[in-house]
Subunit: 337 residues, 2 copies
């Protein structure tokens, strides 16, 4: 299936959905739309994922495209009007549009009309199912080992770390499942519930439901965490995932050099403190230890420096750590299995 | 304004909305509907609020009624079909119906049709406004002193404690505001946002918005907390309120004898631990201390025993405490002003 990824002005560093799809999804990416990087290639920016040309607009894409994927998730999740011509062009050629924005494309009159007219589908990934309920506090009743990722902030690499842990576990022959809780994970996995979009009262219940389903069929369940327990806007989402999943283990995700909350005037506590913070928070509901750490070292040039940063991180959290993209999450899988 | 309160089979101990309205709202309550207590009076059950007859159904209420208020909030917030004849009867006589349930009456075809036919209004208190957004982490920019209640569990008396603190502050001449975050508080105050019903990503933002508005006009803002940081289903709501309100002070609410999560197979940590748990949770976002405690002693018969329980609670949390209903929240107001 051919897709184009919309990532205007934000590719690759602030286009985590686009990069996640390039790295993990089963789609063939035929183009990335980024008017600031027109004429370059994906490989010029991100060397270790599938390559594709970067173009200025959807009208520059000549190949057949099955779906245009909105590959950026701005704070607030709004729709940028400057993207409208690309979405319009896609729909007019009968191409589906997948979006993880809070703004639902199917509620947009022009897009809804164009989709109907040209037989294209609008998939608002962030629209949760209607039949969710309150958590019963029973996610720990599954026989599976539940591993939930947590992080020091948004956009430090929780989805990536979870996906890498899951894929590595499967490569090692473990019967593992991936529970997607955010738009990128859902786009990659093809299913999941966007917990940040679920009514607060039902957020833990949504996670519990996914863990019960995945845990019934698999030995290991890797749950994609969201945001951070110290985040001024999104800590409620984190809380619901940690308590709703009732994990056996936590894996702490962090990005090298991140010392304040992205987009907010708030310092982060020292990274080592997060171990106690998350374990203490989880404890009344689930007796989970932070068994490992995943460090995002993309801002570090040399592998040697990256290894040093990982060693410091492992020291700080007193557990094995690695960068699952640059290196390998194997040392953390070892503790889990 | 005359209201009837629906509280079938749950009045008064599991009908916190009904009791809250009886105690604090400006409505004249002409009847409480509880088929299990038919023939008794409110005063037989709750002596210190306005009195009214308890009857079996809405058809037993002869007085003019302006609104029927659903006065119970079951776990999950569903609508009990056994209440349908009462709601139907109310609407057929042109009486409005106010509900704090997750189930929206205006989405019920029969109720919507009856309301339209008889000129009655359906007010789904739990339906949040449509224009909410992500928190900016700026609630602490108000000049007002922000006091947020937190609790060891659901239904320990946070709304009541917040309301009593607010009313006592005003009686003492302090310029105070009440920020309602749940159905009962909103029904009493006439405004507010049901945070538990807000999409997770926007829950802290909703609280921030209310604190900014109230804090612009008042010197003290009392924010009604919800649930508990240790609750397996609702901790996300608590997290969003604590971080979204960026409080100067926290007041810990608890009920005598509560040692497990209501409705769940989960023990509560010792009550003294909650001070550290809430302060540590708040700290990266707001440097708030637990400055006092509010103890619900309704299950204790004698005032002497209640005073003993309060003294123990104050010891455990190392701060002044009281039962704001049985006695007075003055000692905690003292610390805040």
């Amino acid at each position: 299936m051919n897709v184009a990824l919309l990532a205007h002005e934000q590719f690759p560093d602030r286009a985590k959905t686009a990069v996640g799809v390039l790295r993990y999804a089963d789609y063939d990416v035929v183009a990335v739309l980024d008017r600031d990087n027109d004429g370059s290639r994906v490989a010029d920016h991100v060397p270790d994922v599938q390559d594709a040309p970067v173009v200025a607009s959807m009208s520059d894409v000549d190949e057949d495209v099955d779906a245009l994927v909105i590959g950026i998730a701005p704070i607030g999740g709004g729709f940028e009007e400057s993207w409208r011509p690309d979405v319009r062009n896609a729909l007019e050629r009968g191409c589906d549009v997948y979006s993880g924005l809070h703004y639902f494309l199917e509620d947009d009159e022009e897009f809804a009309a164009l989709a109907a007219e040209h037989g294209a589908e609008l998939w608002d990934v962030r629209k949760p199912p209607a039949d969710l309920g309150v958590a019963d506090g029973v996610a720990d009743s599954v026989d599976a080992t539940v591993v939930t990722t947590v992080g020091t902030d948004c956009s430090v690499g929780k989805m990536t770390a979870t996906r890498e842990l899951y894929e590595t576990a499967r490569e090692q022959g473990m019967d593992a499942a991936f529970v997607a809780t955010g738009q990128t994970g859902i786009l990659i996995e093809g299913e999941g519930i966007p917990v940040d979009r679920v009514v607060s009262d039902f957020a833990a219940g949504a996670v519990e439901q996914m863990v019960l389903e995945a845990g019934a069929d698999h030995d290991y369940v890797f749950v994609e965490g969201q945001a951070s327990i110290v985040h001024p806007a999104y800590s409620g989402v984190t809380a619901s995932i940690v308590h709703g999943s009732m994990p056996d283990h936590l894996v702490l995700c962090h990005e090298v050099g991140r010392d304040s909350v992205h987009g907010y005037d708030q310092e982060l506590p020292p990274v080592g403190e997060f171990v106690d913070r998350f374990e203490a928070f989880a404890e009344p509901v689930a007796d989970a230890d932070v068994v490992g750490g995943m460090l995002n070292t993309r801002s570090v040039d040399s592998d040697d420096e990256a290894r040093e940063a990982i060693a410091d991180f492992a020291d700080a959290i007193d557990a094995p750590a690695d960068d699952p993209v640059r290196f390998d999450p194997g040392s953390v899988i070892e503790v889990i299995r």
